[in-house]
Amino acid sequence: MSLRSQLEDILKDLKSTGDIEASAIVSRDGLLIAADISANVNAEAFAAMSATMLGAAETAMTELGKGIPDRVVVESSNGKIVATGAGEKALLVVMTSPKANLGLILLQIGKASRRVEELLG
């Protein structure tokens, strides 16, 4: 099984949690590695901006001496975005529906990100 399809499997499993509209595995420098995104979303921009968001949040937090943040959660009335690190080289980002149960989703994202980390190192 190729690395790519293994990563795509992780995203597929994640989607079965429910309320997840899109997800992607992105390199830390903002390149798309694997995605489960509908065609009407610009996956490249989504990937790059996720890397920007997480990168900026990590720097802001560490500059304040508070360590590396576990995740960035962005909420709007139309949905939520959760970005979390998945090892040194990648990050995992998920877009949910507005009513999603964040607790359950964060748990699943945590598991998925550890699997990504194992695969990508």
């Binding site: 390199s27 830390r28 420098d29 903002g30 390149l31 490249e44 921009a45 990937a47 790059a48 901006m49 890397a51 920007t52 968001m53 990168g55 900026a56 990590e58 720097t59 500059e63 080289k89």
Partner: protein, 393 residues
Amino acid sequence: MKVVTGIPVLDDLIDEIPNGKTLTYWINPEVEGDVFAMQTIYTNVEEGLKCAYTTITISPESILAEFEEFGWNVKDFENFEIVDLYSEYVGYPSKYKYSANPLKIDEVCGLLKNVLEEFDVIYIPISSIIDVCGDESISCIESIFKLVKEKGKVLITSFVSWPYPEKIKKIVGDLSNAIVKIGGIHHRVILGYYYGLVKVDWKNVKSKSILFKLVRPGGVRAYIPKILVTGPYNAGKSTFVHAVSNVALSVDRLGTTVALDHGHLEYKGFSIDLFGTPGQERFDPILRMLGKDALGVILVVDSTKPETFPRAKQMLESVTHFGLPYVVAANKQDLSNALSPEEIRKKMYLPEDVPIIPISASKGEGIFKVIDALLDILVGSWKEGENEFEIST
């Protein structure tokens, strides 16, 4: 009594205006400079000092309305008075306790001297008085400056630097114990305003220029100019930001900037914030976001890679659409295959007047010349007048 200017940063520099001293706001005609004197007067009114504000070309009502607009309710203070030289000038009887006909210079001079006896801080718009009363009023002004010193009062004046005779400029410049110059930053249009201390004779102060915005209500607010550092992937933007800044941090992952570089630089009296952008196309939304409110652009290019020049130009276009001034830093000049600035100008079809500075960001060579070139464009008008006054050291 302790008199302050009430202007941000200025008070940190000079602490106070000692008794017996005159501070002049030297205003470029393009700038709305009256607010400086108003802010100084109001600050001291609030501290309980007896302050008088002289008006000659604007009606007292307009002056009071303008104070009001900035949120300064001087009318409610008993220790504030208007000195009205306007009403009789336009032929109305004055409603104010202190008034005179400005066409009778002796009357004006007598009034101002009386006011000086009674008040702690007085404001006189010198250039407006010269406009109305003519050159002969200068001897009256000279005598008032001297009286301020004798009586230990504080005089605030404003001088709008129209092309008055050199003699008059020299008299006002020499008699003022401190001069704060107020001007605009140009590039096709006025991009911003600054003020700076150019003379002070009671303290050792390094010259400092401060950019400001007018806030209503609020008055003069200092702000730090933002300079955008942009350019294609791997041109050396982050290296440049880190090399010139006193403190800098980057959000970079896997060797490339993903969000921004931020650097702060204290240079030649200016506080400058540098914002480095990512270089790769996928981050272009960030580029436009960072470009907002920038005052100038530094375009960093890799001199050894002419194939990246079209991208450099496209980035420049997307951040300078409001006509921001820019300079080009021709980086990696330490490499043998680097193109010369003139070759780059030719290949990029850049106008003759755009500065292209050869640098090596990694070796730290030429980097401050880039900042100099941009400051030159931004505050060129400041430099022209630099030798007008000696800054006491």
